[in-house]
C-alpha cells in the first residue's frame, strides 16, 4: 500500500484531501502515515480523522517517515522548497495548485522531478470532472460548429477560510485572484483549446493584490474573454460560442453542462460522474498511479503558470472611473 505524508493542514486539506485520503484508505489503495503543519492543532485535527497518521513537528521529520508520496498542501510560497526536498529524497510528490509562485519556479520543480525520476503532479482536480472531458469531446467533434469565441466569469465574494490577511500578498501567495483561479481556468482552456497568445490583461490592484482581473486571450484566432473576481457575485460560467450553438458550463459542476443548438437548449447530465469530492480522490489516484493514464492526467499545468506570469508582466490597471472620479487629493 502506498504510504503518504501530508504537509499542510489548512482548509483544502481539512475539507477535501482528508476525505480523499479516508476513501483511499478504505479502498486499501493508500494510507496516510505522517502529517506536518506548523499549527499543532491543525495537524492533530487531521490525525484525529486518520488515526493511522503520526503528527510530525517538522517537515524533515515527515520526510523521514518512510513515505512513497508526499502531498504538499502548504501555503504556495512553501511549495517549491518542500517539493524539491521531497524529490531529493526520491519521493513522488503531489502538490496542491498553484504548483509554484511563477512559471520559472514551476519549471525548476518539474526539471528536478525529471532528474530524480519521480512523478510530480499538481492538484488540478477539475481535469477529473466528466463535464470537463465532455466539453473537450464536444469541441473536438465540432458539435457547435466552428468555435467563434469564449467567455468566462469565475469568482465572487471571497470566502475561503484563510488564516490571516497576509494571504492577500504577493509574498505569501504570489498574487491575487489571477494567481488563485488562473491555474484552474487557464489550465482548462489550454487543455481544451491549446496554448493562447495574450491579448490584454488588466487588474484592480493598487499597491496590494488584485481582487478583480480581466484577461483577453487569442486561441489561434478564437478570442476569449476571462473575468475573475473576489469581489462581486455573477453566475460562474464558461461559455463557448460556436457557429451553430453554444456550450455553457458552471465550474464545480462535475456532471452537467448546457448545450444549445439550433435555438434549442438542453441540460446534459452525465451518468456516474460522482460528486465534487470524488475528483479529489481521483486526482490522488492519478498521482499514485503516475504518468501514463488516459487523457490529461495530473501532470503540472506549467503552461497556465507561465501564462499568469505573462499577464502580470503586461498588466494594465482596470479602469474604475467610479473610484477615481470620487477621489480629490
Amino acid at each position: 500500500m502506498i504510504r503518504i505524508g501530508l504537509s499542510g493542514c489548512g482548509a483544502v486539506s481539512a475539507r477535501y484531501y482528508a476525505p480523499a485520503l479516508i476513501a483511499l484508505e478504505a479502498a486499501g489503495e493508500a494510507r496516510l502515515v505522517a502529517v506536518f503543519d506548523p499549527d499543532v492543532a491543525a495537524r492533530q485535527a487531521i490525525c484525529d480523522r486518520l488515526p493511522g497518521a503520526r503528527p510530525c513537528a517538522s517537515y524533515e521529520e515527515l520526510l523521514d517517515a518512510g513515505l512513497d508520496l508526499v502531498l504538499v498542501a502548504s501555503p504556495p510560497r512553501r511549495h517549491a522548497e518542500q517539493v524539491l526536498a521531497a524529490l531529493a529524497r526520491g519521493l513522488a510528490v503531489h502538490c496542491e495548485k498553484p504548483l509554484a509562485m511563477s512559471g520559472e519556479e514551476a519549471a525548476t520543480m518539474i526539471a528536478a522531478a525529471q532528474t530524480a525520476g519521480r512523478p510530480l503532479t499538481e492538484g488540478l482536480m477539475r481535469r477529473q470532472f466528466p463535464s470537463v472531458r465532455a466539453i473537450a469531446d464536444l469541441l473536438r467533434r465540432r458539435a457547435i460548429g466552428e468555435l467563434m469565441s469564449v467567455e468566462v466569469f469565475e469568482g465572487g465574494p471571497f470566502d475561503w477560510p484563510v488564516s490571516s490577511p497576509g494571504y492577500f500578498s504577493r509574498a505569501e501567495s504570489g498574487g491575487g485572484v489571477l494567481r488563485d483561479l488562473g491555474p484552474h481556468v487557464f489550465d482548462l482552456l489550454i487543455g481544451w483549446l491549446g496554448e493562447p497568445q495574450l491579448v490584454a490583461y488588466a487588474d484592480d490592484r493598487r499597491g496590494g493584490v488584485e481582487a478583480n482581473a480581466r484577461v483577453e486571450l487569442d486561441f489561434a484566432g478564437v478570442p476569449a474573454k476571462i473575468r475573475l473576481s473576489r469581489d462581486w457575485a455573477r453566475p460562474n460560467r464558461f461559455v463557448f460560442h460556436g457557429a451553430s450553438g453554444n456550450i455553457a458550463w458552471t465550474p464545480y459542476e462535475t456532471d452537467r453542462l448546457e448545450l444549445s443548438l439550433d435555438g434549442q437548449s438542453a441540460a446534459l447530465v452525465l451518468d456516474g460522474a460522482g460528486e465534487f469530492q470524488d475528483a479529489f480522490t481521483a486526482q490522488l489516484r492519478a498521482a499514485i498511479a503516475g504518468p501514463g493514464g488516459a487523457g490529461r492526467g495530473a501532470e503540472p499545468g506549467l503552461a497556465a503558470l507561465r501564462l499568469i506570469d505573462v499577464c502580470y508582466g503586461r498588466r494594465q490597471p482596470m479602469a474604475e472611473p467610479w473610484i477615481d472620479a470620487g477621489v480629490r487629493p
Binding site: D137, A143, F158, Y167, S169, R206, V209, A211
Partner: protein, 360 residues
C-alpha cells in the same frame, strides 16, 4: 495625519470609505474586517488590514490601537447591529480612540417617514421592520454609552445609499436578470437617495468637525428623486423597460417572509436552465464521452402567482417625504459632492465592469 479605522471595511459603504479616504490622502486608513477572508477587497491597497469581530472588545481594542477615529459600518442581522454597539464603544475607549462615527440609517424614521421628520423626532422601536428597530436601539445604546464614556460619538443617518456594489444597483440588476423584479405603484414614491461618495464625504467631515460630538445627522443627495429615477436607468442599462415590469399595489404587501430554500433553488438560474426537456437536435451533438443524459425534473409551475410584494419595498416606493439634511449642511458643512445623475452614471459603469450585460 488622522488615522481612521473602518469597521466593516469589506462591505459596500466600508469599502468605499477605504477607497476614498485612502486614495485622497485624507487619512491614514486601517480597515478592520470580521474574517481574514474579507480582507480581499481592502488588500487591493497596501494597507494594514486587521481582523476583529465587532462583538469582541479585546480583539477590537487591539486592532484600534493608534487610531484617532473609528467608523462603524458593521452590517448584520438586528442582533448583531445592537450587540456590536457596546463592544465597539468600549474597545474604542480602551484603545484611546477620540471619536466614533456610527453609521445608522434614515430608516429609524421608517421606510415612509412622515412630513416634518428631522433628527429631533421621537423614534419608535416597534416598527414592522426589525432592522429599523435595531438601529433605533443601537442609537439609544450609543447615546447612553456616550453619557458615561470618553469617546465622542457622531451618528449619521443616510437614506438609500446607492452606488457600485449596493443592493439598490447590483441587487436590483440581479432581480431584473432573474425575472424577479417588480415595482410598487409605479415606483413613483420619494426616494431618499444618497450616492455613496456623498456619504463618505460626510464621514470625512464628521471625523474632523468641532461641533459634531453627540450629534445626529440625516444625510441625502441634493436632488429629490423618485424610485423610478433610481430604478429606471439601471433597468434601461440592462435593456429592461421599467414600465413592462409587474406593477403591484402596496396593499398586496404581506408580512415579510423570506423565501424557503426550495423556493430559492427553484428561482436559481441553474434550476431554470435544467428544467427544460431534451429536444432532438441536441441528441445529434452528443459525443462518445457522454454515456447518457437526462433532464432534471423541475418543480411544477405555480400558475397565477406574481412576485411576492415585500412590505419594506411597498413602504419605500409609496413614500411621499424627502428627509431634510440641513443640520449636516450647517454643522458639518456637508454638501453633496456627486449629483444623483452622476452617481447613476458611475453605478452603471460599475455594472458593466462587474460583468453585467449592459446594453447602453
Amino acid at each position: 495625519m488622522t488615522c481612521i479605522a473602518i469597521l466593516g471595511a469589506n462591505g459596500f459603504v466600508g469599502n468605499r470609505a477605504v477607497e476614498m479616504l485612502h486614495l485622497s490622502g485624507q487619512a491614514q486608513v486601517r480597515p478592520i474586517v470580521r474574517r481574514a477572508s474579507a480582507a480581499a477587497l481592502p488588500r487591493r491597497f497596501d494597507l494594514d488590514v486587521r481582523v476583529a469581530d465587532a462583538g469582541d472588545r479585546v480583539a477590537l481594542a487591539a486592532a484600534l490601537q493608534g487610531c484617532d477615529v473609528v467608523v462603524s459600518a458593521v452590517a448584520g442581522d438586528p442582533q448583531t447591529i445592537v450587540g456590536a454597539v457596546e463592544p465597539v464603544y468600549r474597545a474604542a475607549q480602551d484603545a484611546g480612540v477620540r471619536r466614533l462615527i456610527y453609521l445608522s440609517s434614515a430608516s429609524v424614521h421608517g421606510q415612509a417617514p412622515a412630513a416634518g421628520v428631522d433628527e429631533d423626532s421621537v423614534l419608535n422601536d416597534r416598527q414592522p421592520m426589525a432592522y429599523n428597530n435595531a438601529k433605533v436601539q443601537a442609537e439609544r445604546l450609543l447615546a447612553d454609552l456616550r453619557r458615561g464614556g470618553a469617546v465622542e460619538t457622531v451618528v449619521l443617518r443616510p437614506g438609500i445609499v446607492f452606488g457600485p456594489r449596493s443592493q439598490w444597483v447590483g441587487g436590483w440588476a440581479d432581480e431584473l436578470l432573474a425575472g424577479d423584479a417588480y415595482v410598487v405603484e409605479g415606483a413613483r414614491g420619494a426616494c431618499n437617495s444618497i450616492y455613496v461618495d456623498n456619504l463618505v464625504h460626510a464621514i470625512g467631515l464628521a471625523a474632523i468637525s468641532g461641533q459634531a460630538d453627540g450629534r445626529t445627522y440625516l444625510l441625502g443627495d441634493r436632488e429629490q428623486p423618485s424610485w423610478r429615477d433610481l430604478y429606471g436607468p439601471v433597468a434601461a442599462a440592462l435593456g429592461v423597460d421599467l414600465d413592462v415590469l409587474p406593477d403591484l399595489p402596496a396593499s398586496a404587501a404581506a408580512v415579510p417572509a423570506p423565501p424557503s430554500r426550495l423556493e430559492r433553488l427553484r428561482r436559481s438560474p441553474l434550476a431554470k436552465g435544467l428544467a427544460g426537456g431534451l429536444p432532438r437536435p441536441v441528441r445529434v451533438g452528443i459525443g462518445a464521452g457522454l454515456k447518457s443524459y437526462r433532464a432534471r425534473r423541475g418543480p411544477p409551475a405555480i400558475a397565477g402567482r406574481g412576485p411576492e410584494v415585500s412590505l419594506e419595498r411597498a413602504m419605500l416606493q409609496t413614500g411621499t417625504v424627502w428627509l431634510p439634511w440641513a443640520r449636516a449642511e450647517v454643522e458639518l458643512g456637508y454638501v453633496p459632492v456627486v449629483s444623483f445623475d452622476e452617481g447613476l452614471r458611475r453605478s452603471v459603469a460599475w455594472l458593466e465592469y462587474a460583468g453585467y450585460p449592459v446594453v447602453l
